[in-house]
């Protein structure tokens, strides 16, 4: 993006984009409530619920005790009672405390009730690696995606943070909304995948991937902060004649296989980059879904680049070699290009 283009962009970071979306949706629909630790008085530990308490008061913006299991279940009850709760679990790493309510109640009640109960509930949480060690660094989107009944969204651009949050809140389905700690404090104009964040409310539909960069050599699929890393890597290798098509999935349930398969059919080479753990996760799922569409021998190269099944260490010297970043993505792209 040129200086010209960014000059007129709003000065807003991703967490403000989320807060703005929450604000507008709460204005729009009085059934929307938000609850969680530190969402009120301090406006969220990353600021993504700032200004809400003052405007909507403590009954709609509820600072909770550290009782995730119960306030997640409370969200389920609120949704059944007709509200549209947004429940914040501060870090996705803590989800193990309350996953029962997430997958056995929130995600299953619509089905168990034979469609008689709707579950318009959002779980808003933050993931990603920013040097915070094993218990504060996970992504875990595949953990949710393996369990049926919930949509799983992880935005990349500042704009999508706003539009996808609006979509999540307006959806009658339960949505897991995973923010990335490394993106939240970034200004809209600093994103490589930049784009203005409209001031008015708008919705980015859940389930449609975004082709962030067009290219003919390698299809690179990812989401969340890795979109930024991948853009950087793609720009690097472009100079070396490697033309990457980069797809931001935006959500992994639903998974826009169509878009990925079309691109892979064109390039013949598929790379999935994932900040979540490698095994039993997103990378294998995408590869197999594409092969199921295109045929078992349809692609020349299949490659995945993710956290290699190891807890995240505290030391940055170790984290760096485990978590995909611009340099490691570029390396993989070069290897793929060299191989055929």
């Amino acid at each position: 993006m040129t200086a010209d283009m960014t000059a007129n962009m709003r000065k807003i970071n991703a967490s403000q984009a989320v807060a703005e979306s929450l604000f507008q949706e709460m204005e729009r629909d009085e059934r929307v409530v938000i609850l969680g630790e530190d969402v009120g008085r301090c406006g969220g530990v990353f600021g993504s619920s700032r200004n809400l308490l003052d405007r909507f008061g403590p009954m709609r913006v509820r600072d909770t005790p550290i009782s995730e299991m119960s306030f997640t279940g409370m969200g389920v009850g609120m949704a059944m009672a007709g509200l549209r709760p947004v429940v914040e679990i501060m870090f996705v790493d803590f989800i193990g405390v309350c996953l029962e309510q997430v997958y056995n109640a929130m995600a299953k009640i619509p089905y168990m009730s034979g469609g008689r109960v709707k579950m318009p509930m959002v779980i808003k949480t933050a993931g990603g690696n920013i040097g915070s060690a094993a218990q504060h660094s996970q992504c875990l989107w595949a953990t949710f995606a393996h369990l049926p009944g919930m949509q799983v969204v992880a935005p990349s651009s500042a704009r999508d943070h706003k539009g996808l949050m609006a979509a999540a809140i307006r959806s009658d389905n339960p949505v897991i909304f995973i923010e990335h700690k490394g993106l939240l404090l970034k200004q809209a104009k600093e994103f490589l995948n930049a784009g203005d964040v409209p001031a008015e409310a708008f919705v980015t539909p859940i389930g449609k991937a975004d082709i962030v960069r067009q290219g003919g050599d390698i299809t690179l699929v990812t989401l969340s902060a890795s979109v930024e890393y991948a853009m950087e890597a793609a720009a690097q290798v472009a100079g070396e004649g490697i033309d990457v098509e980069l797809i931001d999935l935006r959500s992994i349930v639903p998974l826009d296989v169509e878009t990925v398969a079309q691109s892979a059919a064109k390039t013949g080479r598929l790379l999935v980059v994932d900040e979540d753990y490698l095994s039993f996760g997103l990378s294998a799922e995408i590869i197999v879904r594409v092969l199921e569409r295109l045929g078992p021998s349809s692609l020349r190269q299949l490659r995945r680049h993710a956290v290699p099944d190891v807890p995240i260490p505290a030391a940055l010297s170790l984290e760096e070699v485990l978590v995909p970043g611009p340099a490691s993505i570029a390396r993989v792209l070069r290897e793929m290009a060299a191989a055929s």
Binding site: M59, S70, F71, G73, A81, N104, A105, S113, D172, P205
Partner: protein, 318 residues
């Protein structure tokens, strides 16, 4: 509070007849999974039925039939769900542990400890909207040692939410005796740790339970914040139909059946007060007849069509 004795008796008898009809589906494999009956706990269901309004919410457990009926869930739809028919409350998807009736603000869960949080959500909504309704979250004695008990009572009390926590203390969590795994003699005494209103009642004395439930419900409905009612009782059958139940002494079970059957107790009481045995017999016969006929009718209903097995996972097709 004026009690209609015959009504109370009839309510209990109908509850029991309902569960007895369900039990008929077990040896035939119409009901698989674990069927949990509440036989011996009728007085509690009857008591709830007296004090609840349509708009109040109830969130129950794996042992939920009586609570559903007390909340006004249509018996036929409930039984059809227990028999997993397409005509069931949840089109046969939920089954006996997962009945959901949004019209009556009733739901349940098969996960121990998961009822109170959901009830808290209803209570929150009532408070948010300033409505004079209460949410009743039901637990067994076993569930009171789960963390959600603590978390929910604390939140309800801190925020003054209209939550009634009703504990059916039948002394066992499957094979585990309450006294072996609990620090205090009972549960009502824990209310103090939350500044909640706590009360214990003999849950097999129906008139006492009616009064006690009415009292806690009134307290909470009037804005007093959460209350906790512990109703002591005994589970007369196995934890589920088919349970070997070899963890309780035969003598204990016999004694409990003699002493702690709420229907037999109330019958004796009514007869002492002058009720005609005949009339009571007729009530029993009518209830059995009603439930048998209902069962026979439900048996003719269709099972869910396999073509719809994937329906209802999501509300909208995206």
């Amino acid at each position: 509070m004026k009690l209609n004795e015959i009504n109370l008796f009839r309510t209990m008898v109908r509850l029991r007849a309902f569960d007895e009809a369900c039990i008929e589906g077990v040896p035939t494999f119409e009901i698989h999974g674990e069927l949990h009956t509440s036989i011996g706990q009728e007085a509690i269901g009857a008591a709830m039925a007296q004090s609840l309004t349509l708009h109040d919410a109830v969130v129950s457990t794996h042992r939920n039939h009586y609570h559903a009926l007390a909340k006004g869930v249509p018996p036929r739809a409930l039984m059809a769900e227990i028999f997993e028919k397409e005509t069931g409350l949840c089109r046969g998807r939920g089954g006996h542990m997962h009945p959901f009736d949004p019209e009556h603000n009733f739901s349940a869960t098969g996960i121990v400890g998961a009822s109170l949080p959901v009830a808290l959500g209803y209570a929150y909504n009532f408070k948010l909207k300033g409505l004079p309704y209460i949410a009743v979250g039901i637990c067994g004695d076993g569930a009171t040692n789960h963390g959600t008990f603590h978390e929910c009572l604390n939140m309800a009390a801190a925020w003054g939410l209209p939550l009634v926590c009703l504990v059916e203390n039948n002394q066992y969590a499957i094979s585990v005796r309450f006294s072996d795994v609990t620090a205090t003699p009972g549960i009502a005494e824990r209310a103090a740790a939350y500044g909640a209103f706590g009360r214990r009642v003999d849950g097999t004395d129906v008139e006492e339970v009616v009064k006690a439930f009415a009292e806690v419900a009134r307290y909470t409905r009037k804005g007093g914040g959460p209350s906790l009612l512990e109703a002591t009782c005994y589970r007369h059958r196995g934890h589920y139909e088919g349970d070997h139940d070899n963890y309780r002494e035969r003598a204990e079970k016999q004694r409990m059946r003699a002493e702690m059957d709420p229907i037999a107790r109330y019958r004796r009481m009514l007869v002492e007060r002058g009720a005609a045995e005949d009339e009571l017999d007729q009530i029993v016969a009518a209830a059995k007849g009603e439930m048998s006929a209902m069962l026979a009718d439900i048996r003719k209903d269709a099972m869910p069509d396999p073509a719809g097995a994937m329906d209802h996972v999501f509300a909208e097709v995206v």
